[in-house]
Amino acid sequence: MSIFEYNGSALVAMVGKNCFAIASDRRLGVQLQTIATDFQRISKIHDRVFLGLSGLATDAQTLYQRLVFRHKLYQLREERDMKPETFANLVSAILYEKRFGPYFCQPVIAGLGDEDKPFICTMDSIGAKELAKDFVVAGTASESLYGACESMFKEDMEPEELFETVSQALLSSVDRDCLSGWGGHVYVVTPTEVKERILKGRMD
């Protein structure tokens, strides 16, 4: 089994009309044993930038803590929050620093940039960014997620419809992956509010 599959994970982020959604599964496993069914894979960096980390859970935790360190100092010095594009560059740089001994994580970054324009991106474990206009996926269920998103995605969805689409894509994909699932965690972010919802899925 690959090190990226050790804990199991599923992450997806999607762009809507002046909003975005970022969703993850809730399983934390140790190979085939399920350890937790309420694992948080998505973290808020600030009100308008969210980070999801798939892959090895210990590296995801450490990477997140390092990013909080850097972001807090940025906020104090610049007296403002980081833009999502800037944050993505920071994540990429930190991952590349460990080029020959990397963090076994695949991040998904989603945020609202200038003029409330939604921004999503993903990158590989050594920081190669992949910007997309529609959706990005990561984790053990990524292949199913690609298929589900490609068929279900529409441009300019309103927050409610976006939520439904992301949820259906996530649940149907994790059902085809034994290492991810046990429910879902969806954040739908508009310029005015952040809606966090838990999905009930197949608990296996």
Binding site: R66, L76, E79
Partner: protein
């Protein structure tokens, strides 16, 4: 005569920070404190529901580009802030050092750095410049205001020697002795945050050199707990500050010229 001979001899011990004078003094550290005695004053007062910091702005030209940045008050971490008196460029270095130290602690222990530990850590840095390296000490004094779950609200004062102590009320910068004695008279334990603001503004207005007191010459910041229980550091806006000055009767309007 003997005295003047001694002072002439002691000049030889000025140039290096790392040695004592015959009288057992560190002249460079004392000279650093002299520099601060000419800088804009700052006052800190500890109350039971928060810590208040007030500073006198020395740079008040109309040509100055105003922004949201403050001149005297700086946030170190979500739960700690400081007021500065002395050489601003020295202060910037130390503030950055304190910020990094606070984040390093949080990274290691996943919780906010206790206020005294942060102050101690920064003071250890300052002390280093009085003992090794052949570098001069920092010409800055700080008033640290913060909250942690062990000791609640705290106020600390630190100086160029790297010495620090906890205070209920303290003053640094110009006329700090006058301010300190005024605080000693009027401070009472169990003072509320609003009373502390009033006392700080009153004391500062009395000890400031300037003839008129407006909100442009002052900065006011508070560290307190929100109703949801989180620590908040808030700088008072210029408008709110003007209103407060009027409310407490400490505004002295500039003399009208006909």
């Amino acid at each position: 005569n003997c005295g003047s001979a001694l002072t002439k001899m002691s000049r030889r011990y000025d140039s290096r920070t790392t040695i004592f004078s015959p009288e057992g003094r560190l002249y460079q550290v004392e000279y650093a404190m002299e520099a601060i005695g000419n800088a804009g004053s700052a006052i800190g007062i500890l109350s039971k529901d928060g810590v208040v910091l007030v500073g006198e702005k020395k740079v008040t030209s109309k040509l100055l580009q105003t922004s949201t940045s403050t001149e005297k008050m700086y946030k170190i971490d979500d739960h700690v802030a400081c007021a500065v008196a002395g050489i601003m460029s020295d202060a910037n270095i130390l503030i950055n050092t304190a910020r990094v130290q606070a984040q390093r602690y949080t990274y290691a222990y996943q919780e906010p750095m206790p206020v005294e530990q942060l102050v101690q850590s920064l003071c250890d840095t300052k002390q280093g410049y009085t003992q090794f390296g052949g570098l001069r000490p920092f010409g800055v004094s700080f008033l640290f205001a913060g909250w942690d779950k062990n000791y609640g609200f705290q106020l600390y004062m630190s100086d160029p020697s790297g010495n620090y102590s906890g205070w209920k009320a303290a003053a640094i910068g110009a006329n700090n002795q006058a301010a300190q004695s005024m605080l000693k008279q009027d401070y009472k334990d169990e003072i509320t945050r609003e009373e502390a603001v009033q006392l700080a503004l009153k004391v500062l207005s009395k000890t400031m050199d300037s003839t008129s007191l407006t909100s442009e010459k002052l900065e006011l910041a508070e560290v307190f707990l929100t109703p949801s229980g989180n620590v908040k550091y808030q700088v008072c806006s210029s408008d709110s500050l003007s209103k407060l000055l009027l409310k407490f009767g400490v505004t002295q309007p500039a003399a009208e010229t006909s």
